[in-house]
């Protein structure tokens, strides 16, 4: 076997892992909150629901529930590629990493900072995954808090990709892949930050205002 095969496998699966993680982020943001729900699209006044559009607009040609399922299932696919990415780098031995470097950041002999970012991302990803598997058994705020660390995990994964993959980043296609990933997540995040127009959300925001006014008196 070509001695370099594992090294190429690690580089390739690393890029695929980043693309999949980006997809998981975008899919997650596409269904977070009440995005796309029919009642959330209107402002204030409840809509007169037409039966066929009961489920609201679809995303990526799927129902919102379908996007939600894809978010969960694609995260498992990303995990598989990540395991191959890490295992092949360890076995290949070209950069001399050990198992500890996978989980404990900044101790690697090779590129400790950027490998360390990858290790932190792995730790956060495991926390997000395990807490989601235990979602029905742990308090919801705890699950949500851990789940939101994905927004720290993903930039770390991007930095790990961009600066560990020194040689590959010199090629245009690699730069385009990383740039496209960043654009996708930023665009999804901007859409995600749009305020919920569901009557319930409006009422809750109005409730907060009354509470503040009461304190002033």
């Amino acid at each position: 076997m070509d001695a370099q095969v594992l090294w190429y496998v690690s580089r390739a699966t690393g890029v695929v892992s980043l693309v999949l993680l980006t997809a998981v982020m975008v899919l997650g943001m596409a269904t977070s909150g009440r995005a796309g729900s029919p009642a959330a699209a209107t402002s204030g006044v409840a809509p007169a629901p037409a039966a066929p559009s009961r489920f609201g607009p679809s995303r990526f040609g799927l129902s919102r529930a379908g996007v939600h399922r894809l978010h969960r299932e694609m995260s498992l696919v990303a995990l598989v590629f990540l395991v191959v990415h890490i295992a092949s780098a360890l076995v290949d031995g070209y950069v001399g990493l050990n198992l500890l470097d996978v989980f404990v950041p900044f101790g690697a002999d090779y590129s400790p900072l950027w490998i360390g970012f990858g290790a932190v991302a792995v730790d956060l990803l495991l926390a997000v995954g395990v807490s989601s598997l235990l979602r029905s058994r742990i308090p919801r705020p705890v699950w949500r808090g851990i789940h939101l660390t994905a927004y720290a995990m993903w930039p770390l994964a991007v930095l790990h990709t961009a600066f560990t993959a020194g040689g590959d980043m010199a090629s245009l296609w690699m730069q385009l892949v990383v740039a496209a990933n960043v654009v996708a997540v930023v665009a999804a995040a901007l859409r995600w930050r749009r305020r919920d127009q569901h009557p319930d959300a409006l009422a809750r925001r109005a409730g907060d205002l009354r509470h503040l006014a009461g304190n002033v008196r």
């Binding site: 729900s37 029919p38 009642a39 919102r64 529930a65 399922r69 569901h198 009557p199």
Partner: protein, 76 residues
């Protein structure tokens, strides 16, 4: 004769529910949304043929406001 109904039912927590609406997409045979997006559940036990979808509906809830429970426990 094969049993057509389970002894399970969906239990909805209206306090926790935030009208995400995913449950109705997973189980359209048993859940419709009202005009604000909150679920209206079909009465009675879950039919055997809808059990998988009912489980998916409960699992899809982002705030776990929908649970699949034994009917005897939900009767109170």
């Amino acid at each position: 004769m094969a049993r057509t109904a389970t002894d399970l039912t969906l239990q909805w927590n209206p306090i926790d529910c935030r009208a995400f609406g995913l449950c109705a997409e997973e189980l359209p045979e048993g859940i419709v949304l009202d005009e604000w997006g909150y679920p209206l559940l079909a009465a009675g036990p879950i039919p055997v043929r809808l059990l998988r979808r009912a489980r998916a509906a409960a699992a899809a809830c982002p705030v776990l406001a929908l649970k699949l429970v034994a009917r005897s426990r939900s009767a109170s």
